[in-house]
C-alpha cells in the first residue's frame, strides 16, 4: 500500500536532507578542515625528504594523494562438526572483506565494505556519513548495518566469537542489514553521555528467510524503522558500563510467497510485519596498568512476527531470546571466553517454555583467542548448537583472521 501520507513523508525527508546539505555548504568556509595545512607542515618537519602535496591541490590519475584508505580482511575458518552439511569438516575462506573509506569533503565521508564469500560477492555496506551536522548529529545514508543493539554494527569477523549469536540469526537471519537513512545524535546530560538514532529503511534483512528486497514501490507500511538509545557510564579507571534499548519495526515489510492470483505460480508479496525490541548491557573493563581485560555483554530480545498459517492467513507469534558472552583477556595476546544463547522459535504461535521446550533453540560455546599481533588473530571454539526441533550438535572451529592495510580504532557505543 502506498498512501499519500507515506509519499509525503518521504518527500519531506528528501527535502530535509537537501536543505541541510545546502545550509552546510553555505558554511563551508567556516568548516573547512585546517588539517591539510597542518599535515603538510608535519610532513615537512618529520620527513625531510618528503615533497609534500603540490601547491595547486590537483592530482594526476596516478597520484596516491586523496585516495581512499583501503583494508582487506581475510576470515578463514575450519569446522569439524557432527552435523553434515555444506561447509563443515573442511577448511574454508569464510570471507575476504574489502574496506574503503575516505572523506568526501569537509561535510562528510563515505565507506564501503564488500565481502567475497566463496564465489559470491556481496556489498555489505556502502554508506555516506554526513558527520558535520549541527548539534552533534550525523546522517548515515546507504546500505548499512543498522543501529540495533550493541553488536549489530560489528562485522562477524570482528566479534569476540566465531559464530553469530543464535538469537540474531533466528530473529533477523544474522546482522540486520538495511538500506535507508539513519539520523544519529549524541549529547551529555551532566556527565552522562547519551546517544540515540532513528532509521528509516526500505530494504532490510540478514541472511536466511528474513529479507525484504523486493524491487518495487513501497509505502509506509513496507518500510522498516529502527531506533536506539544508549548511555555509557565510566567503570573503574579505564572501563565502561553501557546500557541500551533498541527497536525494529515493519508493519508489512516482510515478504511471503503465495499464489495470490491462482495461476499456479507463487508470487512474492509484502504483507508480513515484525517488531523486535532489545535491551543490551555491556561491561568492558580494561586494566591498562597490567593489560588484563574483562568483557561481559548481555542482550534480551522480544520479537513479534507475522507468518502464514496453513490456510494462508496471517498470524502473529511472540518469541523471546537472550544471549551473551564473557571474555577475559589475560594480556593483549591471549583471551578466553564463553558464549551462550537461547531463543524461542520466532514462527511458533503456540509459545514454548523457557529454556526447556523443543520449540526453542540454544547455543553454548567456549573459545580461546590468540592475537599474534593486532593484525593477526587465531581462535579455537568448541560449540554446541541446538536448533529448534533438532538434536544438539557439537562443532569444533578454527578461525584465522588477518588484516591488511588500513586499520584504525573506533568509538563504538
Amino acid at each position: 500500500m502506498h498512501t499519500p501520507f507515506s509519499k509525503l513523508a518521504l518527500g519531506a525527508a528528501v527535502l530535509l536532507i537537501l536543505s541541510t546539505s545546502s545550509t552546510l555548504l553555505a558554511q563551508e568556509g567556516q568548516l573547512s578542515d585546517p588539517t591539510d595545512a597542518l599535515e603538510g607542515r608535519m610532513l615537512e618537519s618529520t620527513f625531510p625528504g618528503h615533497m609534500g602535496r603540490g601547491g595547486s591541490g590537483f592530482t594526476s590519475r596516478f597520484d596516491a594523494s586523496f585516495n581512499p584508505a583501503i583494508g582487506l580482511i581475510f576470515d578463514g575458518l575450519g569446522t569439524f562438526s557432527e552435523e553434515a552439511g555444506e561447509g563443515v569438516d573442511q577448511f574454508d575462506l569464510r570471507s575476504v572483506e574489502l574496506n574503503m573509506a575516505s572523506r568526501i569533503d569537509p561535510l562528510g565521508w563515505a565507506y564501503i565494505v564488500a565481502a567475497f564469500e566463496g564465489d559470491e560477492f556481496e556489498l555489505e555496506e556502502a554508506v555516506i556519513m554526513m558527520d558535520q551536522l549541527p548539534a552533534n548529529m550525523t546522517l548515515r545514508v546507504g546500505k548499512m548495518l543498522a543501529d540495533f543493539g550493541k553488536w549489530n554494527t560489528i562485522h562477524l569477523h570482528d566479534k569476540n566469537y566465531v559464530f553469530e549469536d543464535g538469537v540474531r540469526t533466528a530473529f533477523f537471519g544474522g546482522n540486520l542489514n538495511a538500506t535507508g537513512v539513519e539520523l544519529h545524535q549524541w549529547t551529555g546530560i551532566g556527565n552522562l553521555p547519551i546517544r540515540w538514532s532513528l532509521g528509516v529503511h526500505s530494504d532490510f534483512g540478514g541472511e536466511g528467510d528474513f529479507a525484504s528486497e523486493i524491487i518495487g514501490n513501497r509505502g509506509l507500511e513496507e518500510l522498516g524503522f529502527t531506533g536506539r538509545v544508549t548511555t555509557q557510564q565510566d567503570y573503574g579507571a579505564n572501563g565502561f558500563l553501557q546500557y541500551g534499548f533498541s527497536f525494529f519495526h515493519t508493519s508489512e515489510g516482510l515478504a511471503y510467497l503465495r499464489d495470490s492470483d491462482a495461476d499456479g505460480i507463487t508470487d512474492e508479496e509484502f504483507g508480513l510485519g515484525q517488531t523486535t525490541f532489545a535491551l543490551d548491557f555491556t561491561l568492558r573493563d580494561v586494566d591498562a596498568s597490567d593489560n588484563t581485560a574483562n568483557t561481559l555483554s548481555l542482550e534480551l530480545w522480544r520479537n513479534q512476527r507475522d507468518s502464514l498459517d496453513a490456510a494462508d492467513n496471517i498470524i502473529s507469534s511472540d518469541a523471546n531470546g537472550i544471549w551473551g558472552f564473557y571474555q577475559h583477556d589475560f594480556n593483549p595476546f591471549w583471551g578466553a571466553g564463553v558464549q551462550l544463547a537461547w531463543w524461542q522459535d520466532p514462527l511458533n504461535t503456540t509459545g514454548s517454555d523457557w529454556f526447556t521446550s523443543a520449540e526453542s533453540g540454544g547455543q553454548r560455546a567456549a573459545f580461546v583467542t590468540h592475537n599474534l599481533s593486532e593484525f593477526n588473530r587465531i581462535r579455537m571454539q568448541l560449540s554446541q548448537d541446538h536448533n529448534v526441533l533438532e538434536d544438539p550438535t557439537w562443532t569444533l572451529a578454527f578461525q584465522w583472521d588477518v588484516i591488511l592495510g588500513s586499520h584504525s580504532h573506533s568509538l563504538d557505543w
Binding site: 578542515d33 597542518l38 551529555g188 579507571a237 579505564n238 596498568s289 594480556n331 584504525s408
Partner: protein, 316 residues
C-alpha cells in the same frame, strides 16, 4: 514530566556554565602534560588527564565519557607522534569542537615541536605492531624536552587566555628555572653511567638514553608491540651475561614473569611508568625524572647523591 526534572536539567546546565566561566578546561592526554598545564595555569585551569598514571596508552579505551570531556574542553594538549593512536583519533573524529581539532586555537600537538628520534626509513608491519611513522613518541623522558612541553603548555594557555599572560609567564619562568637547575645537576649525577649497558623491555626510553649516553644493548621485545619469543629471550640472556648488564628497564604493564630467567643472571628489573604520577613521590614531572635517575644509579650501586631533592624517595 514533572517540573522538578526540568529544574534539575536547568541546574546541571547552569552549574556547568558557571564553572566553565571561571576556569579554562584543558584536556591533557598524559599526566606530564596535565602537570605542566596545572603548574603554569594555576587556579585558572581545570585539567583532565585521559591516560591515568601507570597505564599503557595503547590500552586506553576511546569511551563516550572521554568524548564528552573533549567536547566541553577549551583546550587539548597532546603528545602527538601517534602516541595517542589507540584512543584520540576516534574521539577527535567524533567531536565537532573545531577549536580543539588540528589548527584550532585550543589544539596543541607538542610532538610538532620536538626533533623526533627513530623515524623509520621504511615502514611495513614485519617490523612490529607498535610502529610510529613519525618517530618515537616518548620524548617526555628527556628533561630538555620537558622544557619544550612546558613551553607548549604555556603557549596554549596564553592563546586561550591572553589576558592572563603575565601570570602564566611568571609561573612558567619559575618552573623553567628550576628545571634548568636540576638538569645541570642530573647531568653530573648521570655522568658515571655514561656508556653503561642496559636492557629495556619496549623502545620507550630512547630519549632518556640519548640524553645521558646510556647504551641499550638489547630489547626484550624483538619487535615493538609483539610478545618476545623464547628464542629471543635466550638471545637477550646471552647479551646480559656477555655485556654484564645490571639493569632492565620496563613499564609496569608488561608481564615480568617471563623475565625470571634473566633476573636469575643478576640483572635488576626496574619497573617504571613512562610518565609521572604513578607514585606519590613522582607526581611532579621533575621529581619523576629525578626518581628515574636515582633508580639508574641504584642499579649500578652508585650512592644516593646528597642531598636528594625534597619529596624524592630514595630507591628501595
Amino acid at each position: 514530566m514533572p517540573n522538578s526534572f526540568y529544574i534539575f536539567l536547568l541546574w546541571l546546565f547552569s552549574a556547568s556554565t558557571l564553572e566553565a566561566q571561571e576556569r579554562l578546561e584543558i584536556v591533557a592526554t598524559i599526566p606530564d602534560l596535565g602537570y605542566f598545564v596545572s603548574t603554569i595555569g594555576g587556579e585558572h585551569v581545570k585539567v583532565q588527564v585521559l591516560v591515568p598514571p601507570g597505564n599503557d596508552p595503547h590500552s586506553i579505551l576511546p569511551k563516550a565519557s572521554l568524548l564528552l570531556k573533549l567536547s566541553r574542553a577549551d583546550g587539548l594538549i597532546l603528545m602527538g607522534l601517534d602516541y595517542e593512536h589507540a584512543f584520540l583519533p576516534p574521539l577527535l573524529e567524533k567531536t565537532r569542537k573545531v577549536s580543539i581539532r588540528p589548527g584550532g586555537v585550543g589544539y596543541m600537538n607538542v610532538g610538532e615541536r620536538i626533533v623526533p628520534l627513530e623515524i623509520p626509513g621504511s615502514l611495513d608491519r614485519s617490523q612490529g605492531a607498535d610502529l610510529h611513522p613519525r618517530g618515537n613518541p616518548h620524548y617526555n623522558l628527556d628533561p630538555e624536552n620537558g622544557r619544550i612541553m612546558a613551553l607548549a603548555a604555556y603557549d596554549l594557555l596564553v592563546a586561550l587566555a591572553p589576558e592572563r599572560k603575565p601570570e602564566f609567564e611568571k609561573r612558567f619562568l619559575a618552573w623553567d628555572a628550576e628545571a634548568k637547575r636540576r638538569i645541570v645537576k642530573w647531568k653530573t649525577w648521570m655522568e658515571p653511567l655514561r656508556g653503561k649497558p642496559i636492557v629495556t623491555y619496549h623502545r620507550s626510553w630512547s630519549y632518556f638514553v640519548e640524553r645521558y649516553g646510556l647504551n641499550v644493548v638489547a630489547e626484550v621485545e624483538a619487535k615493538p608491540g609483539l610478545a618476545p619469543s623464547a628464542k629471543h629471550l635466550l638471545k637477550v640472556k646471552k647479551i646480559i651475561r656477555e655485556q654484564k648488564v645490571e639493569m632492565l628497564l620496563m613499564e609496569p604493564w608488561y608481564n615480568e614473569q617471563r623475565l625470571r630467567s634473566l633476573v636469575d643472571d643478576g640483572v635488576k628489573v626496574v619497573k617504571l611508568a613512562t610518565t609521572s604520577g604513578l607514585r606519590e613521590s613522582e607526581e611532579e614531572y621533575l621529581d619523576y625524572i629525578e626518581y628515574l635517575i636515582l633508580q639508574m644509579r641504584d642499579a649500578y650501586a652508585l650512592p644516593v647523591p646528597s642531598p636528594p631533592e625534597e619529596g624524592v624517595r630514595k630507591p628501595s
